[in-house]
Subunit: 750 residues, 2 copies
């Protein structure tokens, strides 16, 4: 029995019921929100409450004709939907029944079901007053939250970047481009930004975290600038700071910070990309002349891809240190490359690497050394030195440990690379969102204007989870840099493996994001003037340099495995193994079917669920990996080969661990946001990130029986829904990244 | 009871059992192969047969200590493994027992289990004589299979490309680059390659399929060349050929083919990227002067991204044709752009689009028309004309059908775009594989040399399925072009939707492949000299131009939906719907658990399984999509909005359908390969493609209950295993693409 003759009490609920039932995504908890509201609504008679209640059975939804009638009722009323109302749906509803006051209970539904105009505006035939974006949140507040403790430095730096020297322009010729970037680096050095992370005595403020924040901002100017800046101050200057001792600091550090001394960081070799321990360059101590002889033994043992190689006067060269015939392992030595007239010194050959896919403002080159002699004092001797008596000495006796200690000091660079990649993603997302809020395409013939492309569900789905990722990784990297810079924790091994994993997932995230933004802007995204193309070319190599991602992920995974072993070693590995097989595998595989099919919004949106899923994945992958390796080894297969056989498993574990780690940091950080309204927004953003991550690995969770088919589908729907729910705030979210207006030069982002 | 004292009969099986049991990937069918061999082996006593049989229980595998003993036995024997032996493992085995003759039964195991040296060489402590690649297959034979009917044209063209004018070089300045590419296009035009697809009377051979094959080859020279070539001969010349009539052909076609007349194809507008029907440019017939007035009404209604815009004398302009005040829909009109001195004609404004991410040798520009007058005869009037009496006439009365008929003639261009993307993938894969067969990294300390990176499982997994994809899509596109060129089938609507889908999945495939190759080559892949960087920048936009992929996939999906509706309409839609709900959903959801957990190699490798899975996916997605749309519409939601709500579902269907379609064509093609050895290789390649596709959508198949957890894992393992099995032939597989040596200029591919 269908009627169009509704009482006032019923009528005011019609727009809500129409919105709720027009789609099929209504969970039990959402029904209960509406039920409670109806029970408390004093404007309703008990008869009306009963009738409304009848329309709230998930298993017995209102008849299609009923829903059509609701639609008809709203359409014929000629009431307008005004999106800029604070409670648009409640307001529409009250105009429908000609009420002046808003019904508090309806407002309650609107808030608690998170119903947004973009969910339902297309459902109504009424005129819709569109707003491009909501003003519920303020981008400046978000920006302040992101800046955290570095607000002063960041604000000053943004101002500094207004100089015309930092205005973006297209320079195709590499020499012209490199000269411009060099000039920019010099300006930054002279203004004290290069030395930021150095001690006060050398022109700095000893503030590595603030250095990382401004480093990210350089990506808004140009990728080449960021990288050349990083090479000069972070790698070259950083190696002097971290691997050298006071004599080196006194002699070089201030000059490096002010760009009076330009230098490069010569580690990678053509033949040995990711295997630093296997480099072939030798540094042989010659007692007679009390000097060190740097030599490139073979044609392919040259230093490769060395940034700043063409502008540098000096290099920090990594080589096998040989003292008295014994190889003491890899050490860094300062080697002058050119004289005052910028002529290459004897025995040194430098070749330009030529044009690249991106970063053409960075002068990468190859360097060969032919028995180049430098004083013994040039050895950066913090962790290993040659004494006056010509003997080698290191306080770290274990060569393995010594090597990793030296490398560990350079982890800050990896955090910066990830930070730079993140900056590139923020920039691309800002451009793509601005474009999508201006560009219209296709349309319903009824409408006068074509739709904004930001209103397409596929468009929301491709950009919104990436924005969520950018927020999560921002806080993750801030936190990692604080831990890394905390001198009260001298052992950085744990941080090193964590950073290895984060650098990988974040640089891959950045590449995916920038590519998605390029495609989201269509042909416009392909034009250099719109900046995304350059970001794409520049950030691409971030997955390879400062450690190839696949190699780093294996490092991260091995770190997890060691922890796992340590955990059980304390109780004796052998004795625990038996227990493991029954107990652990039980605990890990037997997931309660109630849990694996729980699809309630509360459950799916609850960080406890996300954390449980992430933790389950990490532990399960660790356990199965450990068992596989153990089985291979038991059969006599050498451990090197066993690790080769489980390589893809290692990568999966590295990713799983890093994702869990990033999300945990983000959640902890959210709890510290004082303003509850913004905390809630950030929690929603975090929820989207977590569900999107679980969604993209749903196959694995399904295989394990951790989630059932229904839950898998529900997770996908929730990702789509959250992306849509955040649509009104999407411009505020990208503005929250705080990219200065003078850096947003892309015509399509205006 | 473990012993190291084995009889000769047992001993000869030890290397096989060691290889088989060292990993855990042994299916029932594989066990049965070994069992049969043992039963037939006359060199064995019945006691030995019994003992060997005891080592063949999947549920009760040999003890780890037993396996260790096997290893020990082999190691102490000092017998060498020689990979270049025809039966390396059988040979090793026979040397172990000092037999001269090879045991036929052991050879049988080696062949039928597909055991390759790279599966097991790492298991032995013995010295291994490595071979970079196997010579079992001949790349020339593969190349001949790929060239198919166009061998003559392709061979001639490869030779033609040896001219120094086609040697690759870096040109950063766009004007310099564009001039060089223009010169190349002119050379090709003069040699008759431009006109290849035109009728004999106009300098051609009427051979569109051969044209597509040489078009692909242009990607080996340079992406800009391919695109400018396509614009001049395919789009500009093609529009005259396909949309014009004899008078246009006589006047322009020969000149277009010889590049005496340079032209462009002005369809896309800034404000209306993918919505051709919504373009704003008008072509108004003025009866008084018997001419057509071309006009750009608004600032953003200019023609955008028009290739060849700066070099052209004439444009084929798409505009709303208005005759006697009535809009007759989109038509193409030839509009002169410049005079003999290359000065822009009155009323025409052309602006350079500037630098792009790639394709900087193509002169893209924007064009505005300010009441430009052209003779009535310039209307390309095959499908719609203005009669002498000033009235509009078309033999196709339905404007909708007319529009799609005109657009349908341009589908050949989309096939070529996909073909070009495919060529880019082949090039990148060839470079990456050559590099991986030369580059060594890390190592086991025991070995003298570091491992070839091609020997890493992760590396095999990242490149091999892509190579398989390139083979599958090669045959798919060949076939599509044949169908498109078949004039006995004038209705191209079906082909048009199929091509829309294929263009999308293949251009995305190409981008993924090139990116994977870039990363697989590390920093070397980032250098322009190594070609992958340029391919990446060039091919990137292929996903957007000639129809944005997301738009095209929706077109493909809607095609499938119409077929679906037609299928049931014949029996009356309404009456079938009831049946559908019970019958179809039953048929689709209830998968026999025996089937969903069948993990045997025979089953997983059988094309019947792949086709069943693809067909199931397409039908299920179609059914659920149709039901969703129907439910929305029943609730009164307008169909435009309903389609918006199911957008992601549409994309999934478009992809599923296209993948199934490509694989079906490939399988049909395989059956026509006469040489059974090569047919088997191609079938293996196809199997890898299919399993990789199922693997990458395993989440969906799991959600539907089509595959169970075990099967999902087994599929992943089989993808890895097939990638490893193809390792010995990987160089032959990329050489089979037939890229001429003079095009392989990348230093890392030498």
């Amino acid at each position: 029995m269908v009627t169009t003759d509704y009482s006032t009490g019923i009528l005011q609920y019609i727009p809500f019921f129409y919105v709720i039932w027009s789609d099929d995504l209504l969970s039990a908890s959402e029904i209960s929100v509406v039920q409670k509201v109806i029970a408390l609504d004093e404007t309703l008679t008990s008869e009306e409450k009963k009738q409304l209640g009848n329309w709230l059975h998930k298993d017995r939804p209102p008849h299609d004709d009923e829903i059509k009638n609701w639609k008809q009722t709203i359409a014929t009323s000629k009431v307008k939907l005004i999106e800029s109302d604070t409670y648009p749906l409640t307001s529409l509803s009250q105009r429908l029944v000609k009420n002046e006051e808003l019904n508090e209970q309806l407002k309650h539904i609107e808030i608690h079901l998170g119903i947004q105009p973009n969910h339902y505006n297309h459902l109504f035939d009424v005129e819709v007053v569109h707003e491009k974006t909501s003003d519920e949140y303020d981008a400046d507040v978000l920006d302040t939250i992101l800046k955290g403790e570095h607000a002063k430095e960041v604000d000053g730096f943004r101002k500094f970047l207004e100089k015309p020297d930092f205005a973006w322009e297209i320079l195709r010729d590499k020499d012209e481009f490199r000269n411009r970037v060099l000039k920019q680096v010099q300006l930054l050095g002279e203004a004290g930004y290069g030395a930021m992370a150095y001690p006060d005595a050398y022109g700095g403020t000893d503030n590595m975290p603030a250095y990382a924040a401004i480093f990210e901002h350089l990506m808004f100017v140009d990728g080449s600038l960021a990288i050349k800046f990083g090479v000069q101050f972070g790698l070259f200057g950083g190696s002097i700071q971290k691997l050298g001792t006071k004599k080196h600091h006194d002699q070089y550090l201030t000059d490096a910070g002010e760009t009076k001394l330009l230098g490069c960081f010569a580690m990678t070799e053509t033949g040995h990309g990711s295997n630093v321990r296997g480099i072939k360059t030798t540094a042989t101590y010659d007692k007679a002349s009390d000097s060190i002889i740097i030599h490139t033994p073979g044609k392919n043992d040259n230093k490769e891809y060395i940034g700043n190689a063409l502008h540098s006067k000096m290099a920090s060269v990594f080589a096998q240190l040989i003292v008295d015939g014994k190889n003491e392992g890899v050490h860094a030595i300062l080697v002058p490359l050119r004289n005052e007239n910028h002529e290459t010194l004897e025995g040194i050959t430098i070749e330009d690497n030529g044009y690249k896919l991106g970063l053409n403002g960075v002068d990468n080159g190859k360097i060969w050394f032919n028995n180049v002699k430098v004083p013994r004092q040039n050895l950066l001797n913090k962790y290993g030195e040659i004494k006056d008596n010509g003997l080698y000495f290191s306080s770290i006796k274990n060569p393995n440990k010594r090597f990793f200690t030296m490398l560990g000091t350079l982890v800050g660079g990896r955090i910066c690379v990830a930070r730079g990649a993140l900056g590139g993603s923020k920039m691309a997302l800002s451009i793509a969102v601005k474009y999508a809020l201006n560009r219209r395409q296709f349309n319903d013939n009824v409408k006068v204007q074509e739709d904004l492309i930001m209103d397409y569900p596929t468009h929301q789905l491709r950009l919104t989870p990436k924005i969520a990722g950018a927020y999560v990784y921002h806080f993750t990297l801030e936190d990692m840099m604080n831990r890394y810079s905390d001198d009260s924790q001298p052992d950085k091994r744990k941080i090193e493996t964590q950073v290895a994993g984060l650098k990988s997932i974040i640089t891959w995230f950045a590449n995916d994001t920038i590519q998605e933004c390029r495609e989201a802007c269509g042909g416009k995204g392909y034009l250099l003037e719109n900046r995304i193309a350059d970001l794409k070319g520049d950030v691409d190599i971030f997955t390879t340099f400062e450690g190839d991602n696949t190699v780093l992920l294996q490092l991260a995974a091995k770190g997890v495995l060691s922890d796992f072993q340590a955990e059980f070693n304390s109780a004796g590995f052998a004795s625990v193994l038996k227990l493991l097989q029954s107990q652990l595998s039980d605990k890990l595989t037997a997931i309660n079917p109630m849990y694996s099919n729980k699809v309630d919004a509360e459950h799916l949106y609850n960080p406890k669920f996300h954390k449980h899923a992430f933790d389950y994945r990490t532990r399960r992958l660790t356990y199965t990996l450990a068992m596989r390796i153990r089985n291979y080894i038991k059969k006599g297969i050498p451990s090197y080969q066993a690790f080769l056989k489980v390589q893809t498993h290692l990568l999966a574990l590295g990713k799983a661990y890093s994702t869990e780690f990033a999300y945990t940091i983000f959640c902890d950080h959210c709890e510290q946001i004082a303003d509850l309204k913004y905390r809630a927004l950030m929690e929603k953003v975090g929820c989207l990130y977590a569900l999107d991550q679980i969604n993209s690995d749903a196959r694995w969770f399904l295989e394990q029986g951790y989630i059932g088919n229904t839950k898998s589908k529900a997770i996908r729907q929730r990702v789509e829904r959250l992306s849509t729910e955040l649509r009104p705030h999407i411009e505020v979210l990208v503005d929250g990244f705080g990219i200065p207006g003078h850096c947003m030069s892309a015509p399509i982002s205006k």
